[in-house]
Amino acid sequence: MALDRRSFLTFVAGGAVGTLFTPVIWKSIDDTAIWTQNWSWIPRLEHGPKAYAATTCKLCPAGCGLNIRTAGDRPVVAEGRTDHPLSQGGICPLGAAAVQMLYSPARIKGPMKKQADGTHQLVSWEEAEALLLEKLNEAKGQGGNVACISGDENSTMNEVLSGLLAQMDSNRFFLMPGESLTASKAFGSWLKQGVLGYDLENADLVMAFGADLLDSWGTAVRNKKAFGAAHPIGEQATTEYVYVGPMQNTTGAVADKWVSVAPGLEGVLALGIAYHLLQSGMIVPEALDFSSYRSFVLSRYTPEYVSKVTGLSSEQVAELAVKLRRANRPVVVPGSAISQGNGVFSLAAVMSLNFLLHPVNSPGGIFVLPDLPTVVSEAMEPSIIRGNDLVSFVQKITAGKTDRPSVFLVYEANPVHGLPQAEAMSKVFDDTFLASFSTFYDETAARADLILPTPYFLERWDDVQTPHGAGFVSYSVTRPVIKPLFDVKPAGDVVLGVAEKLGLDLGFSSFEKVLEAKTAALAEMDGFLTDKVQPWQVRTGASPAPAAGNQWRNISRGAVWTTAVTPFVPAVLLAARELSQAAPPDVDDWAYPVRLASITSRAHGSRHIAIPPFCLPLLGEEELQGKTFYVRMNSTTARNYGLKANDRVKLVGPGGECVARVRIFEGVGLNVVAAPLGFGHTAWDEFSRGKGDNIYNVLTVRTEPGSDLSVWADSRVRIAKAY
């Protein structure tokens, strides 16, 4: 039969009908729908047994315990550790994003050398280490013309680095500026062997001056845990929290009481309170300078004066004094909302309340926390390190008052972005050899002549010694939970190797050995592990079993070591001389009329970590819009400067300026503009680069009379509408 058109059509019709009785159409439709579950460009899940690895976080100085959940050896999620006294199962947003940061696009893939055109080129470790050796050798020949900046206050890495410097006859070892420097200037004369800690857990009244206790200040997660325990869900609070500070930040929002005081005036209010306490007959018997302190306070910080300067009523000030006097175990926490740039006046004034209220080392008050023994030969003593003022050093160099080091080593720090007046300060790195030990391609790495990438903290050994703001001594170890993803090398190993080639003997062949020695050295002190009894419980009568067994084995697997030993304190000084010299003047600054309340939040990263991808959704609509960030002021302030919500505003400080949008927020004091640090990155990755401006640029450094300390927590700016 010939195939004519008609029979062909009939054939097709038959085929079509036949097809309906086969799976072809139905299965295809179904499978196409199933295919949409399985698009090749969307990752599939990988299965594997669930396990946990206990370690310690290094993303900020708070030293929280992290439990890294793994699925078939892949780290997947960071969880809290209930057995860690600094976090007790809690976690901050930055810590919660820790695992994903492993794969941050800003990770440095291998050692890099700066090219003539300013770009970086990957080189081998041999070449990189040879270059470092060459530069250090030159510096050694010049009599130790080398300086080091460490961004990690708590690591034994500081011993390795300061030991290297010391053996090269340099004492220019600096931490990124923090509050331990201020404390050292204020109390260093009598507090040689430790730092002051705050026993929040046993307190029944916590009054924080400036310190953003519940977000980023000190041991933030532990502070929150203490706050949480004192505010049982659905029940009456057992401890009152009062926040004295410039704005309703995280702490101000949730504290039982918020007292609005502009940055820089916390000390004035504290002495105003001290006035009442002194009037009621309180004394500090163990203080040598009590009488000069007493007469200074009573003569100058009268209720009228304090009320005039702070804008609070005399009744409000008196009420705070009553609160403190009535409490059984009150503790007062001094600080600045950004944990840096605080003056001796502010710190000593606030701290004096603690001395007035109860003797040092009483439960629910302040404790002297001893430093841990050092193990690296010739490493600087912690108390010396705390007293080195980086900002003054940089200012002296730029002013030509001291010579510029020929080599700068920067370890896990980002001074190019994160020093006050950052733009001007970073000029210190001009005409020097800058080597950056960093995990991420931050602004300092981008500027560096040599990048020596460190493993991410989930890939390396490291440790955390008693963080600033803690209430007790602690030691815990950071341990690798995954092999390094890239061609990176622990900075400790690099430095030890180079030192050896320089003919210096630091006493160790690898950083892991340093940590082992550190752990062994802890045996000198009467310590215990926190698995059953917590250090604050010891102060109220609990008795722990002394640490036994293989210390390194226990601690390297996550155990936390602590001690209840407190050094003997024969006498204290209230820093009365410094208080009287550093007291802020009564005149107002008309050139820069607005007080700048800078904000740090763990949601914005930390000093050396830019905002992680997973924290971006935390920024509200009025914190970041596209590339523009917001500063906050109340409606009265805004009106005074002709500003409305969403207007573009320029903040001008003596050293720099930046542009933002206005967010009207009534939780900011009068004539105060609140602005977040941690924005305006120029390096890093697409997640953080180019978003907002760098407020560090408008911070203003002044030298505090009396202490000669660089201070910028009380910076001031001029604001005007920007077009």
């Binding site: 038959g14 036949g18 009785f21 072809v24 199933i34 579950q37 399985n38 899940l45």
Partner: protein
């Protein structure tokens, strides 16, 4: 009547129609599956029966529940290497395991006949009293591993149980058929 004469004869209509119909049926039921599925074989031939009969290994020695309630469906290299860290025979599959997988630290990419999509979370613990072969092919009583057919479009195994079958049994047993009991 006139119209009928004008039209073609019955046969001329019916025959091509039938040819088309039969061709479509044949293609749909035989050719189409050939196109839709690709056949794959296991990376190694594992001899279940030998392991059970000759060496007295229990099923649960390799296929066990972890303490957290999850199910270790397939043994890892480590498990196999408890015996096979070195080749004990000249069996090519055993040698391949040792050289290609164990020593290189690569897990054996076993093809699971019953592998469920990512959006399904099958709880072995909830079904631990059922017979394994109610869902899985009975590989335990033979030394041969059957071929694995993969749907080219969906990338799932041909034998992957469809939701209907799960639902039917759940309904019969009085178990919940709420969506999230199985989906994730």
């Amino acid at each position: 009547m006139e119209e009928k004469k004008e039209g073609p004869s019955k046969g001329a209509v019916v025959v091509p129609f039938l040819v088309g119909f039969v061709a479509a049926i044949a293609f749909g039921w035989w050719g189409f599956p050939q196109l839709l599925y690709s056949s794959k074989s296991q990376p190694l031939n594992f001899t279940h029966l030998n392991h059970v009969q000759d060496y007295g290994i229990d099923c649960e020695d390799c296929h066990y529940f972890r303490p957290d309630g999850s199910y270790a469906g397939l043994p890892s290299n480590e498990k196999c290497a408890e015996c096979h860290s070195m080749a004990m025979t000249s069996d090519p599959d055993e040698i391949k395991f040792v050289e290609e997988y164990y020593e290189k630290g690569v897990e054996v990419p076993w093809l699971v006949y019953q592998y469920q999509p990512d959006n399904v979370s099958f709880s072995h613990a909830a079904h631990k009293d059922e017979d394994c072969t109610a869902c899985h092919p009975d590989v335990g009583s033979t030394n041969e591993l059957p071929p694995y057919y993969e749907n080219r479009l969906t990338k799932y195994s041909k034998e992957t149980m469809k939701m209907k079958e799960c639902e039917r049994c759940h309904a019969k047993e009085g178990a919940s058929n709420a969506c999230q009991v199985c989906h994730k």
